[in-house]
Subunit: 324 residues, 2 copies
């Protein structure tokens, strides 16, 4: 798969919806960014059709069970569903959580469901980039919706869910600590809140806390106020109401969705472009080890770091750097 | 302060340890990155002396109380202490947590302690950059140690603590959920673990869980195995043992500290350089609104995004881009 001649062919097979090609394509964008680019170039114009649903929340909130319920309802409606589970992996365990592996096996027989686990570590070029490319692969292969599930503990994961067409934040009844913690970055990205395990004590209070926070917030785009849906994913209670909320969001028209996609394209472009410039510097301009020497000199306080940046920028580009 | 002629003078007053100059300098690096650069250039060679102590952990772990105890012990030892509290701020509350404000008032009378709260939102050029610059200001002004306290919920915050000379992760006895959650990015950065509120039920189990995870992990640099220290910050119990562990880490010599600083300089250089290249593109190369048009065309699937990157990179640099 690594040689470029076969990559466009792989793209064709992805567009035809071939399951094994989809799996190989995602492996490619995860592990070989350069070949992955060629692939994305081959399929990109055929993407943008799937509704991308982001699901996040703290560990133990029951996100996986909830996603299973969403899959089941979408299958009943005759849809092919793609799922990317962004798993926290640690240097201690080194891989996906056991629960996800079990879950993936449960759907293994259904060719209308494609589930892929992506670990949060070790992606060349970043997790957000790899996840974004994997969404494009599923989209191009005709999966719709594409569900992206993450554990909301890192900026990367928040960015991923924020980039979805609709962002769902899942909480559970608790001491209030959860809501407090989640204020620091996750609350603001929610288009829809779910209080899962709503049969537990404290569900009313958790929902009220969210509503109260929302009361302090300026209304979102198009005056959308994020609904707070109560579910019990283990029994399925409340899940149809969640699906209805997702459909209401989707029906609000193309403008919000378009705004979100522009935001996503902007963040992506800046990140990749910045990285490419540094690659250009390292490969085309500087001698071997020269960037590392500059870094050493900054670390040892031998140079002013901003002066070093100016000098490297000027060497990297031939046109004079104005402004500043 | 905004005009460049007065910025070097401000740098001189920072180096003289003048408290009001320190406060103004931090405001400058937070709010005016360009003038901030001039300031950092003026003080940079006089930095690198302070021991930078990073403290993170989930909300409610008692980090602030613990930091207060560390301040008190350092003051008893005759040291001037700088503290940066990176506060989760939300669009709902828009600012620092109340507790920190109260705490800062408690130290207001002690000129040997400088505490500054930095919100996580709205920093031009990024929180990690602003925090890094604020550490340099405190360092140049003679504060040692400089303590950086964050709530470990975002990638930014993890990066900040990871960049410290010593990283302390604070946990509390709990259901095991905490340890599970924290595996996803925070566990691996700890040089020292603290189980705070160690008088609570479950402290032994939490400590055992951490030890058990550490048992699975390869030994760190210099065969350092992160110690697990039990504290009760509200009474002060265990805090001297924590200080002893910090001193043991510091005494291990300059090599680990140096490695950490090179890592920090490398991440900093790549981030700032990438952003500067895009500024160069926008200001010197592209027409007004041209980058936004490219973004629009990517979002609407009118162009291959990687092709757009190649084209922008080639326009931004005159020397031919090889490789790829």
């Amino acid at each position: 798969v690594a040689d470029d001649t076969s990559v466009p062919a792989l793209g064709g097979r992805v567009l035809a919806g071939e399951v094994r090609a989809v799996a190989r394509a995602i492996t490619l964008v995860e592990s070989e960014p350069r070949s992955g680019e060629t692939l994305i170039g081959a399929i990109f114009r055929h993407t943008g059709r799937a509704h991308v649903i982001g699901v996040t929340g703290p560990p133990g909130a029951g996100k996986s069970t909830l996603v299973d319920r969403l899959i089941a309802l979408a299958r009943q409606a005759g849809r092919r569903v793609g799922v990317i589970a962004v798993d926290p992996s640690s240097p201690f365990t080194g891989g996906a959580l056991l629960g996800d592996r079990v879950r993936m096996q449960a759907h293994a027989a259904d060719t209308g469901v494609f589930i892929r686990s992506m670990a949060t570590r070790g992606h060349l070029g970043g997790l957000a980039r790899a996840t974004g490319d994997a969404i494009l692969v599923l989209d191009a292969a005709g999966y719709d919706p594409v569900i992206v599930e993450t554990v909301g503990v890192g900026q990367d994961e928040v960015e991923i869910v924020r980039a979805a067409d609709v962002s769902i934040v899942v909480l559970v009844p608790g001491t209030g600590d959860d809501v407090q913690a989640i204020k620091a970055g996750i609350m603001e990205i929610a288009d829809i809140f779910v209080v899962n395990k709503a049969d537990r004590e404290g569900a009313d209070r958790t929902a009220a806390e969210i509503e109260s926070m929302l009361g302090l917030k300026a209304a979102g785009p198009d005056d959308w106020r994020p609904p707070v849906i109560r579910t019990a994913a283990t029994t399925g209670a409340g899940v149809p109401a969640l699906v209805a909320a997702i459909e209401r969001w989707r029906a609000r028209g193309a403008s919000v969705r378009r705004e979100r996609r522009v935001w996503r394209a902007d963040a992506w472009l800046r990140e990749v472009l910045g990285r490419r410039f540094i690659e250009h510097l390292e490969h085309d301009v500087l001698g071997a080890g020269e960037l590392a020497t500059v870094v050493e000199r900054i670390a040892s306080r031998a140079v002013d770091p901003y002066e070093a940046v100016r000098s490297l920028l000027e060497r990297g580009v031939a046109s004079p750097v104005r402004g500043g």
